[in-house]
Amino acid sequence: MTALNKKLFRDLWHIRGQALAIAVVIAGGIATLVMALSAVESLQETRRAFNEQYRFADIFAHAKRAPEWAAREIGAIPGVLRVESRIVQDIIIDVAEMGEPARGRVVSREAGGQSRLNDIVIRRGRDLRRAHPDEVLVNEAFAEAHGLQLGDVIHGNFNQRRRALKVVGVVLSPEYVYAIGPGDVVPDSRHFGVLWMGREALEAAYDLKGAFNDLTLTLAHSVAPAQVIDQVDRLLAPYGGIGAYGRADQLSDAFVTSEMEQLEHIAVVIPPVFLVIAAFLFNVVIARIIQADREQIGLLKAFGYSNMAVGGLYLKQVLLITALGILIGWLLGAWMGHAVTGIYRDFFRFPFLHFQVNPGALAISACVGIFSAVTGTLSAVRRAVAIAPAVAMTPPAPSAYRASIMEYLGLARFLSQTARMILRYIFRWPLRAILTVTGIAFSVAILVMSLFFFDAANRMMEVHFFETERQDMSLTFVDIRTNAARSNVGALPGVLMVETYRTVPAKMRLGHREERVAISGLDGHMQLSRLVDVNGRVVKPPPEGIILSDKLAQLLAARVGDLVTVSALEGRRLVRQVPVVRIIRQYIGLAAYMDRRALNRLMGEGDIISGAHVLSDSRAEPALYAALKDTPALLGLAVRSAALETFSEMIRQHLHTMIFFYLAFASLIAVGVIYNSARISLSERARELASLRVLGFTRREVGTILAGELAILTLVALPLGCMAGYGLASLMVNLFDTKLYRLPLYVADSTYGYAVLMVITATIGSAWLVLRRVASLDLIAVMKTRE
């Protein structure tokens, strides 16, 4: 090895603590990038393979009762490859081990034969047999949630008739990768199950011989779904079609897409933050090293080493540190990817989901890492190259301290000698002080941003379950009823309060934009299910007009006062113009609200309800559940306590993993920035501090100078970091904005507190590490060397 390279490695070893800190920050960015890009790729590949192999449909349509030949007509639409008609029905399921009823979706399957579209993977057991109408297949998540074994019997209410169903198989389907129940916020596999049954059994139960109520189809390549959807809608309209939709609106598939989009956002937003910080650390550290090496650089050039060789000396150090960071990042990224994929396995039921590190992601991340490192150091290295060789010949100049603002303001008089030294040092290199403050502020900001996800999820939970949906349960009827049904609900055991509602599936159009949405007709009282604005105030739907959720308004480009065209997809399917009277911020899904009476008028119908919200006496719960299990008119049931439980469970388990990573990284950034900053000011002033020690200052007094500087910079950085954290949170709110959900921009005070506390801890830790060096400051060595 050449002497120059030996110098390189020894110098690098000398700053190993700082180098490691920077490498870890780089690793944070690289790991996130590798994790996110690889996970996207893995999800995408898995979904593609699953959808293709099991013939996931392109378009989905539901109707009331359509004759079989309508399916053949749809099959003749140009661009349609295959059509499959079927029967899909929501029912109430009774699983013996659970007190409350569960909701189920029954999907027909040609007994014995093979379904052409949306085929299933049998994980356990066997397929349905012909002439065994009571056999069912259940989705794996539901089976696991209830510990269902092959041969177990569950009960379902079919068209007012209770039936025993024998579980013969446990399956997965591309249609229910993310099996979320209608109206649910997160999947609740205990309370929502998907069942596959023989077609004939369902035809018999729902009187659909020679008919169907659901249809899926695949398209030839390069056929746009929109046109076909329109034609399907036209063909199914006479049969109670409620609007066909493509994969983009297929709930399960849309959630997978949304997850991938989020990973992509993460890949775009998070790594740059880490890499910018790394670049900044490089800049500061290398600039400092070059400053300290001035005479050596001059010497090397005096000996005839070229600019390339001198610049290369420092660039190589940077590249070695970066390489270490990239390597750690790759390993960490692979590990994080596995962890994240583990989460996805809980959420998304694919028959296989293997995390694979994407070589492209490795290459991209390495390039990005090197790019940021080189960008961060280039100016410092260029300065090194520009150092004149004559520097080697001149004696070291004492640091030029100049009168600072402190002197101008006459502040110096009021400060102790120590305080003056601290402040002079800060003002002597204001740019470095600013950079350090920026770095510390960044780590506060990342901490705030990571914790913000908890706050947002908790806030969402609070708004949804405590401000908006306060009913103990919501019942959906099999059919619309007159308001008289209200008293039937009121007569159920333990029911304390009943609030009725009506929902209507509709298409809403403004200009050329169109969205499918369920319009909720609310009763005026709104004691239980309420419409609440951002300030927590209850909003009553006015007697006329419609209230849109902000996301729906955005998708339709609707403003208050606009007339939207509402096409009802049930009943007499009237098309009406309705004025938008208000737009309200909402975090989940798309929604539109009207006064129930106004909605019924719009439908040209009387005093109609489609369900009821209920407040119940918890002591009478078993009796109420028992009664509900036996209520044939019940189509669906949402139990608030169960939903709340699932939601908080999701936050607890899944959010934790992701946030843990970011908390860890943010802490590492804090330590990296603060430790580096402290080390730099120590080495910069080793001589000065040693001189003070020689003059009789105690270690404590000398330590105070260093620690005091850190403390001041940290104190300045904390509020800035909190503000930047709020900024990052609002950036996240903008990024995590999909049809399915949005994040509330809400940062809890405790989040700021926690972030601040973490950074203060990091500061104290770094100060301690550096102060130990003050204690061991070798006075003679420091005075003997030139620098």
């Binding site: 002497a3 110098d11 005096a302 005839g304 080493y305 060789p389």
Partner: protein, 245 residues
């Protein structure tokens, strides 16, 4: 034997020739004239001592000769080559191929051992002596693997001498090489310089405040206020070992 070499080399071109060399430092407000027109020729193989009060421009002059610095006006020739016409890369090559420096502040690389400090120069030299031999020359064969911080000031300076002679330079430029040393160590350093001058024919330029050292030179050039005040020729050179202060 010394006589013979000098006679044989009589009709040479000078190794350095400067023409009306000036150097101005533009400070804030007032300009500092470090050199105010220096015309000088140095012969191949001679040993020259530069004397003069502090601030008289000696270091500035030496730095320009070594290609470390550029004059404000005037010309410098190294043999046939005009240094003032060279670009940065060419100057780098010039330093690498021809010049050895010894600085007042030993200027060793703290993270390299004595041997490695010498190797730093020999690795890029065309015709070097082995670092070990160079260190033996200055009597440091026993301390080769010590770091600068483990060496005394005199030992560090001897490493610096070994480092600059190891490449067999054509010219040795020394700026107060004994400034920080006691008499005995300083003489050791001067002996090393004298040795390469004698054995390799290296031209040596030595800046010093110590008038006693002037006795080992062929010529003594006195600087004052950025100009050459006087040049005296020593009829008899004293060996370094005979000097003391």
């Amino acid at each position: 034997m010394e006589e013979d070499r000098r006679i044989a080399a009589a009709p040479r071109v000078p190794v350095f020739r400067t023409v009306n060399l000036t150097k101005v430092y533009h400070g804030d407000g007032n300009d500092v004239w470090a050199l105010r027109g220096v015309d000088l020729a140095l012969e191949e193989g001679e040993t020259v001592v530069l004397l003069g009060p502090s601030g008289s421009g000696k270091s500035t002059f030496l730095n320009i000769l070594g290609g470390l610095d550029q004059p404000s006006s005037g010309q410098v020739f190294f043999r046939q080559q005009e240094l003032t016409a060279l670009d940065d890369n060419a100057l780098t090559r010039y330093r690498r191929d021809h010049i050895g420096f010894i600085f007042q502040f030993y200027n060793l690389i703290p993270s390299l051992t004595a041997r490695e400090n010498v190797a730093l120069v020999t690795e890029i030299a065309a015709n070097p002596i082995a670092p070990e031999d160079a260190l033996a020359l200055v009597g440091l064969e026993a301390r080769m693997d010590h770091f600068p911080s483990q060496l005394s000031g005199g030992e560090q300076q001897r490493v610096a001498v070994a480092r600059s002679v190891a490449k067999r330079p054509d010219v040795l430029l020394c700026d107060e090489p004994t400034g920080a040393l006691d008499s005995a160590t300083g003489i050791g350093v001067l002996e090393a310089i004298e040795g390469v001058n004698r054995e390799l024919g290296t031209t040596a330029v030595i800046i010093t405040h110590n008038a006693g050292i002037a006795a080992m030179a062929d010529r003594v050039i006195a600087f004052a206020d950025g100009r050459i005040a006087s040049i005296s020729v020593n009829k008899e050179r004293l060996p370094a070992s005979a000097i003391s202060w």
